[in-house]
Symmetry: C2
Subunit: 355 residues, 2 copies
């Protein structure tokens, strides 16, 4: 299947490029798209002819299942260009695997690995001018799938659309991040869909996050919904805590997205000889850690945000600010990771893949 | 605002009707739509000119927020035609109120009551030929709102589309319903979005429901995610249990949709002098109730399904069948409710509204 499908991609080129209209140094994250997109529809139980074509709106029926019952999944990846103009991906196999496990959980068809890979690679080659060289410049890749079947009946759709769109991007968060620890609202249920990268998980966070924003916090650190004592993850990042010289992060579960950045940082930390623990982290450890001085750092980790230091957190109406420190492990790991991703340092893990 | 907006609806009539192509006695639920739809877009912080126009697909950008972050809510209502050709709605105020509380929870703008009401009423008048007389004939009404703003960044959209589409419908479930009681999977978290009628809540149920289907169960009765001991609701229905001559249903909460049918049945049961309890119901009460003979009936309640008797349930690999009974309270309440809705009986509650 892999070769047949790969050879079948229909390519319709855009008559002109929009690239000259773009100020690459001033792009809001996720707001500008390249000239082309990759599209493949699923109908009658199989994937149809894949197409690369100009980025453009498309027609949807008002009764399309995605609007009513929310079958929608996505991934977030990045492409990097090195000094030789080669294009690199970071652990794309992990994203494809996660995309397909999200698909299973949302009762959607899996996308064959060869279709995903070939579609992505050919799209990147066609729009390669949009990938700029240099640390901090990346092309954000957004594969997604939506239910396009008709009918307002709460059953899985029989038709789907898989697309990949590309958006040039710098880092996601700018400025210092303060977070609120969730005491009432939750992101995910036991036995729910928290570990799937599905659209509804994000919409559910917007209202509580808007309440947090009003109080001056950019993000929420979600806790388990039963006891609100275990720290789980932030809106689009997994979270790490440093107590003295030990890094700690929560184990993945049905409630937590199994982040590629998270698992990469765990491996990097271990290789650096940093003491790395994967275990449930309690909110009480943070408040005590602030009091006795053992809590040194908190940072988020995700493809969009890379590594994002957190300045302080609020819990039960109290704000706790982290100490200023000299040797931030967050910043060291961030530098090492981005150097690997941008091919500016050796990649001892074989994580980077040339397309 | 109410009168200005009401007067502003732009109406574009369909050149011809599709009604003659429809076999009203053989329609799959939610699969056939009337000639027109109501549409109103939200932009720059306000609702734009509302329009009634021919039912048709519309354009969506690949980066539309609904595809990526799942801001999407809906309602389900029905219209009925009486012997005088008057058109009636059942407690529409309840649906509008719930729609707007779903909107708040999903960080979407509320739809002004007058805009919703006028849009719906004018649409129903225009497509009134699609509402057939007679018990069991209804027009299912699907108001919904989706995030149409551009950009793959996990923030609330700045643009939305509100639509109402109409679909002629008979009863939703046919045949006898067997249910599976959830032991591992869950529908909603404490502090989550379970009480909002939002798209993602439905997609999350499809996979566990497909596993249940394979074992011969049509629906799942969801339990609380922390202990899986409290019976909450089914996929698109609230659930009632009859122990001897007492009816019991779970209280609403953040995890449970506050159903219009549920609250109507509670009021009807009370008026009939039936002992009606609203309290948490444990799975152990059901298994014991089967053993000692006190569990007489289980039924689902919802707009689409009306009242749907449940034949038996499975829990921990064991199937429990309910006894056959003579005087089913489910069927009595169903008859009373549908008679009120179809204007075939007095409406002592003032629930029906003529448009
Ligand atoms: C909920 C959530 N958690 C964590 C992450 C981080 O995952 P990754 O490192 O794979 O980007 C993301 C973003 O992708 C996310 O959406
Ligand atoms: C999850 C869920 N529970 C219960 C119901 C029943 O609510 P109502 O009686 O208002 O239709 C519905 C359907 O509308 C539903 O989707």
């Amino acid at each position: 299947m892999s070769t047949t499908q790969a050879s079948k991609i229909e390519i319709i080129k855009a008559p002109n490029t929009k690239i000259n209209e773009v100020d690459f140094d001033n792009i809001n994250f996720g707001s500008v798209f390249t000239d082309h997109l990759f599209e493949c529809d699923y109908k009658n139980g199989e994937w149809q002819t894949p197409t690369i074509k100009p980025y453009a709106p498309f027609m949807m029926d008002p009764s399309s299942r995605v609007f009513h019952y929310g079958q929608a999944i996505f991934e977030g990846m990045k492409a990097y260009k090195d000094d030789n103009n080669d294009i690199w991906l970071f652990r794309p196999d992990e994203n494809i695997k996660r995309f397909n496990s999200s698909a299973v959980r949302m009762a959607m068809p899996e996308v064959p690995v060869s279709l995903f890979t070939e579609g992505l690679n050919q799209l990147l080659k066609l729009d390669e001018a949009w990938i700029k060289k240099g640390l901090g410049n990346t092309l954000y890749i957004r594969p997604f799938m939506i239910a396009t079947g008709f009918g307002v009946v709460a059953n899985p759709s029989d038709e789907y659309k898989f697309m990949i769109i590309l958006s040039p991007a710098k880092a996601y968060y700018s400025g210092e991040v303060k977070v609120l620890v969730a005491e009432h609202y939750s992101r995910a249920a036991n036995g729910g869909i928290g570990s799937a990268k599905t659209a509804g998980n994000y919409a559910g966070q917007f209202y509580p996050t808007s309440l947090a924003n009003k109080e001056g916090y950019q993000q929420i650190i979600w806790t388990d919904d039963a006891t609100h004592t275990k720290l789980e993850e932030a809106g689009t990042m997994n979270v790490f805590f440093r107590f003295n010289d030990t890094l700690v992060t929560a184990p993945t579960s049905e409630r937590i997205l199994d982040g590629v950045t998270r698992k990469s940082l765990i491996d990097m930390a271990k290789r650096e000889g940093i003491n790395m623990e994967v275990r449930p982290v309690l909110i009480s450890e943070l408040t005590e850690g602030i009091k006795n001085g053992s809590l040194k750092e908190i940072f988020g980790a995700g493809t969009a945000a890379v590594v994002s230091p957190i300045k302080g957190f609020a819990y039960k109406e109290e704000y706790f600010e982290l100490p200023k420190i000299e040797n931030s492990i967050a910043l060291q790991l961030k530098e090492k990771l981005t150097n690997i991703q941008h091919k500016l340092a050796e990649d001892p893990f074989d994580w980077t893949v040339k397309i």
